[in-house]
Point group: C2
Chain length 284, copies 2
């Protein structure tokens, strides 16, 4: 199968319609490009489950809080297309900015209660713009299912809530985080780390693991946070933005550990922001 | 054709799927019941354009700002079903509250810039809840087109913006306001008016017509508003909530009349709120 690349919505809809008319299950992998092994896991899962795999590549300016982060965001389209081809995608949608936002956006999808904590607290408006662009892509493609990485846990929770609360007939498939051999979650922003920052960055995952171990052995919220923060404090080159233990559905910090919790953290290594999280069941 | 009545989303989707599989165009007429000649015009238009006409009847509690207004809202299901049958609807969706809101709603569709003025200013949160429930109904039915009355002009503008800005593949069909012989816009709330209020209520339409005539003869914004307010002042039993001349797309008050404008008003007759509007082209 050859890879079809389109950049206009009508072409996209026509290509998807042909696949649907052939009875194929349509899977969407929404990305901002700079594709890496994390996206690879999404693509592999989609390929295994769907007859037609659609990848969207669009760096959404609205969801960036810092202009420099938007401008510095890696854009590697030729490599991304080769990656999609190798992984067996059928259709790639690479719209220009005006194709997604032909006029000033007036209507937004918002999940205020799910955006209060964690990244939402530190990136005002970010998730509103993520939910809105994902809704747009959902309506452009109308896939049967869509694939999202667990690394962006709050984003995943918001998209799952959006689909449930707005009755969108799309199945959301969460895909586990892919990590480097030393535990660092793979991210498009990792390339910005210098050698020393790259070494320190592993502390985030180690901190989450320490919190998870504390919870697994019956520790409470304070114990778990302390275990994590102790590790992060030993890396003076990392600045902690947050480290919280939250309910995996509501994304609100919990007072006590019951059932499953998500341990989520964000740190800055210089000018680069890194996030990661782990799901952990309580000891009881 | 007999009328099918369903109250669960899976039944609704199954019935619509059968119609779609037969190649029929699906038209949705979303209503809160208490059907009258205004809804009749929506149904007639849908019947003329679609092979399968779906009517939803759901009084959405979230969009009411006053609990008493919600509780007093007319509920006339047997008559509504007879009305749908006579007008040739194919499918009526009459969900219970829990079918639409099985849990607390976390995700909303919002059009903040379009909700700042007119009804949006006086009914905080109203249009967010209207847009959200319409989005839910759109995703439940996935119609080819949906019918909305021009009487609720701000609602119509917000739904049109929602469809455009979120790339929803549904055609929105605006249907002109239906009026009593004396000009009063037909509304489910008109039955609450006593004899005297019913007489006074015509002043709203007369006021809009006076503003339209002023604009047609070259009057400016101040002239048009003055012409309308003069008529409303002569009806001491009406309390004016707003009377504005707005851009028909942005729903913002205009400073000068250029192209088409919408003249929109809301008044209270005792405890009953009435709205109406007219579209008018400038004299130039």
């Amino acid at each position: 199968m050859s890879l079809e690349v389109v950049n206009r919505v009508p072409e996209l809809r026509a290509a998807v319609s042909r696949a649907r008319a052939s009875g194929l299950r349509i899977g969407l992998v929404p990305t901002m490009g700079a594709l890496h092994a994390g996206h690879g896991a999404l693509l592999d899962r989609a390929r295994a489950e769907c007859g037609c795999v659609v990848v969207s590549i669009f760096v959404n300016p609205l969801q960036f809080n810092r202009k420099d982060d938007y401008e510095r965001y890696a854009r590697t389209l030729p490599a991304d297309l080769a990656f999609c081809r190798e992984r067996g995608a059928d259709l790639v949608f690479t719209p220009e900015l005006e194709e997604i936002y032909p006029r000033e956006q007036r209507v937004y999808v918002d999940a205020p209660s799910l955006s209060e904590h964690l990244c939402g607290m530190h990136r005002p408006g970010h998730f509103r713009c993520v939910a809105t662009v994902v809704m747009k892509l959902f309506n452009m493609v109308q896939p049967d299912c869509a694939y999202f990485g667990e690394k962006d846990a709050q984003q995943l929770a918001i998209i799952q809530a959006m689909v449930a609360d707005l009755n969108i007939p799309i199945e959301i498939v969460p895909v586990p985080t892919v990590r480097e051999s030393d535990g660092l979650a793979i991210s498009s922003r990792n390339v910005r780390l210098d050698h020393e920052q790259r070494q320190s960055a592993t502390a985030l995952h180690r901190a989450l693991c320490a919190a998870a171990a504390s919870i697994a052995s019956g520790g409470g919220v304070a114990d778990a946070r302390e275990a994590a923060c102790k590790i992060l404090k030993d890396e003076p080159s990392l600045q902690v933005e947050y480290l919280e233990i939250v309910d995996p559905e509501s994304m609100r910090p919990v007072d006590e550990i019951r059932g499953s919790v998500r341990i989520a953290g964000a740190v800055w290594a210089g000018e680069t922001r890194l996030i990661d999280n782990l799901l952990q069941r309580s000891a009881q």
